[in-house]
């Protein structure tokens, strides 16, 4: 059983290997939960079919033969595994946070989710993006496939600006219906432009979840001293005195969050706001709550 202390971001992120990180978190999340002893493919019996020569013998229902002396084949309906697209924002704005950067926190969430979905035999794909799609790993149900995801996550660095709407537009062209799309980003972009592609994906019967990663500093602007702040994405630099503008800033930022929540709700998108000071178990409880 994992001590919850280990699930604190600053502790977990000290582990460089994403795989181990993810496994630790998964272990931590599911520790204490009773697991079933039965393992294997979940197949559902639907009907019997008269055996014709040449058909596989192992599917013959011998019990029915014993009763009826006729050969029938068992017919199963195959359970279709869910295709999960995890979209990770790797724009420059994600490279922020002390001691835990948003990108590191987000990568850990991606890795953990990948592991969880893989264990459920769901096929997980990863899309990293900034102003365009950077990496596209389609979801494939394959053993240890998530290692590919890990390696991408390990090497991927933040760059460029964010343009989620453009990315979603491109993605909608590349994917089919009924996917589970998880977007992990700080969503520091224009909300209005985001709504249209989101609605489009929703209408394609995709289930969408937005995980909003923010630092406490971004929400509260707690620092004291006046300083020059430069925009990580645009490079623009301005002089800021947090003390004098804190109240106004918080008000604006809360309005932004409210708008975001309201818009996602309209588009039937699940929304989770997670700050980087949250322990991972709590973050996942938040995500899995819905």
């Amino acid at each position: 059983m994992i001590d919850k202390e280990f699930l604190k971001p600053e502790v977990i992120l000290k582990i460089k290997n994403l795989d181990i990180r993810a496994r630790l978190i998964v272990e931590g999340i599911f520790s204490g939960i009773h697991t079933s002893s039965k393992k294997g493919l979940s197949c559902e019996f639907t009907e019997h079919k008269i055996y014709n020569s040449g058909e596989p013998v192992n599917l013959i229902d011998w019990k029915v033969y014993g009763r009826t002396e006729r050969l029938f084949l068992k017919k199963f309906e195959e359970e279709s595994n869910m295709k999960v697209f995890i979209l990770l924002d790797v724009s420059n704005s994600m490279d922020f946070g002390e001691p835990v950067k948003k990108i590191d926190y987000a990568k850990t969430i991606v890795a953990t989710l990948s592991l969880i979905f893989s264990k459920q035999n769901d096929s997980v794909g990863l899309v990293t993006f900034n102003e365009d799609i950077v990496d596209f790993i389609p979801p494939v149900q394959k053993r240890n496939y998530f290692n590919n995801i890990y390696s991408i996550l390990q090497k991927r660095r933040t760059s460029k600006k964010t343009d989620i709407s453009k990315v979603l537009y491109h993605l909608s062209k590349r994917i089919k219906k009924r996917n589970y799309i998880i977007i992990i980003s700080d969503f520091l972009s224009d909300i209005e432009s985001l709504l249209k592609p989101l609605k489009g994906l929703s209408t394609m019967k995709n289930e969408i979840r937005c995980i909003h990663i923010l630092t406490r500093e971004e929400i509260e602007l707690n620092s004291d001293n006046a300083k020059y702040m430069f925009d990580l994405e645009t490079g623009k630099k301005i002089l800021v005195d947090p003390n004098s503008i804190r109240r106004e800033y918080r008000k604006l930022f809360n309005n932004f969050l409210e708008n975001l929540r309201f818009s996602f709700n309209e588009c039937k998108v699940h929304y989770n706001l997670i700050t980087t000071d949250n322990p991972f178990d709590r973050a996942f409880m938040e995500i899995f709550k819905n």
Partner: protein
């Protein structure tokens, strides 16, 4: 100890300037995900930060200045600091009467002597309104004390005044001609001269010009005998008061006395002394006996005392007059107690004296001591050389009592015709009294004398020189010496407090 050299500290103002110029407040560069919510405030903030920079710089400069001021024992003009607490302290001693020019104020109490040491003990700071008579400050000058928290506001001596200087007379048959010499300071003015002759009063307007004026008054048909002549000039100087003219027709020695009730005249005559009234001490002959009696309390005793300082019996160095020994002694101190008229004559008289709560304690070598109380003890320096004790010339009325007593004693023990008595003159008064006039001994030398009769020491006498008689206002150097030149409140505490406030401000600004 704090030194004035600290005042050079403001030179170090260059330090914060250099710090400000060379090491301006470093503003960190920090990344931020999005400036979307900050950008609106940017311009306002930039100006604000600049303003803060200037404020911080000024605060640092001020800190240096204030610290230097605190360390440099800089004084703040205490009128500014103690605005509500400043007291105006009026010198209500007698000397201020008649010396008040434009500063006319009502005195609450007319006390004999201005005791400035006591005043300075009582009040910490204030404005001293006084005529600054040197005589009042002599002990302070002697001790070299400084009262830097007092501002002297020197009363002007009246610019305009009249003073009756002399009255001469001549006879024209039975007519008496009075020549009244009046000195005027200031512009010409018509004044009312009030003359009383044997109770008959009449007034005369006289025009007084600047300088000496001679006013002639003719009194017709003056009969032989004593007559009262009273001249009164309504004047700023109240000294110029009533006086008598005693006329003894046919005699050359006619004296003018200064009192309505000539008690002392009678006494002096009884004692066979030749009493003199004179209004100019310079004209007083040594050995004359000056009498000014019944001085009213509201008179300018100070001014009068200029003349009364000459009131002392003068005697020869040493001589025997029957059983009375008159002996010149060394300059020393005398001590007289008012209510018992006691005269101490032990020699040397004073071992030491000290001040305790405004009282003076005299210790004599014989172990006796006496407390000199302000109002009923006369304390005078009998030494011309010594300035150990303050000579207060205000106690003239008391001095008369003293003289009266002394001579009464003498009179009781002397027989008529004793060796000290000279020519006899019999004087008839209109009241029918007759007195013998005696020739006066003239003791020309200034000094100290004792008069012994048997085992009793009766009198100590001195002629005080002219310098001693004249009242003097403190010179500027002496005023500076007593009060100091700078009239400021010690601002060390104040500046340290300001420094503390600035330090807090600086820290707050620095933190931002």
């Amino acid at each position: 100890m704090i030194y004035r050299i600290f005042l050079y500290f403001p030179l170090f103002i260059i330090i914060p300037i250099l710090i400000h110029l060379l090491s301006r407040r470093k503003i960190k560069n920090e990344p931020f995900p999005s400036l979307l919510f900050l950008i609106e405030r940017e311009r306002k903030l930039r100006n604000y930060i600049k303003f803060e920079e200037i404020l911080l710089f000024l605060t640092r400069c001020l800190m240096i200045i204030v610290l230097a001021l605190a360390g440099g024992l800089v004084f703040i003009p205490f009128k500014f600091i103690l605005k509500g607490e400043m007291k105006k302290i009026y010198d209500t001693s007698l000397s201020t009467m008649g010396r008040i020019g434009k500063y006319k104020y009502e005195t609450v109490n007319i006390n004999g002597i201005a005791d400035f040491e006591k005043t300075f003990e009582k009040y910490k700071y204030g404005i001293i309104v006084s005529d600054m008579q040197e005589i009042n400050f002599r002990s302070i000058l002697k001790k070299g004390k400084r009262y830097r928290y007092f501002i002297p506001e020197i009363l002007d001596i009246s610019e305009e005044n009249n003073s009756m200087r002399d009255i001469l007379y001549s006879f024209d048959g039975n007519n008496l001609k009075l020549y009244i010499k009046i000195n005027r300071t200031g512009k010409s003015k018509n004044e009312l001269l009030k003359i009383s002759f044997d109770g008959n009063e009449f007034n005369k307007f006289v025009e007084l010009r600047e300088g000496d004026n001679i006013v002639e008054i003719m009194i017709k048909d003056v009969k032989d005998g004593y007559h009262r002549v009273l001249c009164n000039l309504k004047d700023d100087l109240i000294f110029d008061n009533e006086f008598y003219k005693v006329i003894y027709k046919g005699k050359r020695e006619i004296k003018i006395l200064s009192d309505e009730e000539p008690v002392f005249l009678l006494k002096a005559l009884k004692m066979r002394y030749n009493p003199v009234w004179i209004n100019n001490p310079d004209n007083l002959k040594k050995g004359d006996f000056l009498i000014i009696e019944n001085v009213k309390k509201n008179l300018n005793l100070d001014y009068i005392s200029r003349f009364c300082s000459s009131i002392i019996v003068s005697v020869n160095d040493s001589m025997m007059m029957k059983d009375i020994l008159i002996k010149k002694v060394k300059p020393e101190f005398g001590f007289i107690e008012d209510d018992r008229f006691f005269i101490s004559t032990e020699e040397p008289l004073i071992k030491e004296y000290e001040i305790k709560g405004g009282e003076r304690i005299l210790n004599f070598k014989d172990g006796k001591s006496a407390i000199v109380r302000k109002n009923n003890v006369f304390l005078t320096s009998f030494s011309l050389e010594s300035k150990e004790l303050v000579y207060h010339s205000y106690y003239i009325p008391f001095l008369y009592s003293f003289i009266e007593r002394s001579f009464t004693d003498l009179l009781l023990n002397l027989e008529t015709g004793d060796s000290i008595i000279g020519d006899f003159k019999r004087i008839e008064t209109p009241q029918g009294m007759s007195y013998e006039n005696i020739k006066i001994f003239h003791f020309d030398k200034i000094g100290f004398y004792r008069i012994f009769k048997g085992n009793d020491t009766i009198f100590v006498a001195v002629n005080i020189n002219k310098e001693e008689r004249n009242m003097k206002i403190l010179g500027k150097d002496k005023i500076d010496y007593i009060f100091g030149k700078i009239k400021f409140y010690d601002g060390t505490g104040f500046f340290l407090f300001i420094f503390l406030i600035l330090l807090i401000c600086e820290k707050l600004l620095e933190r931002r």
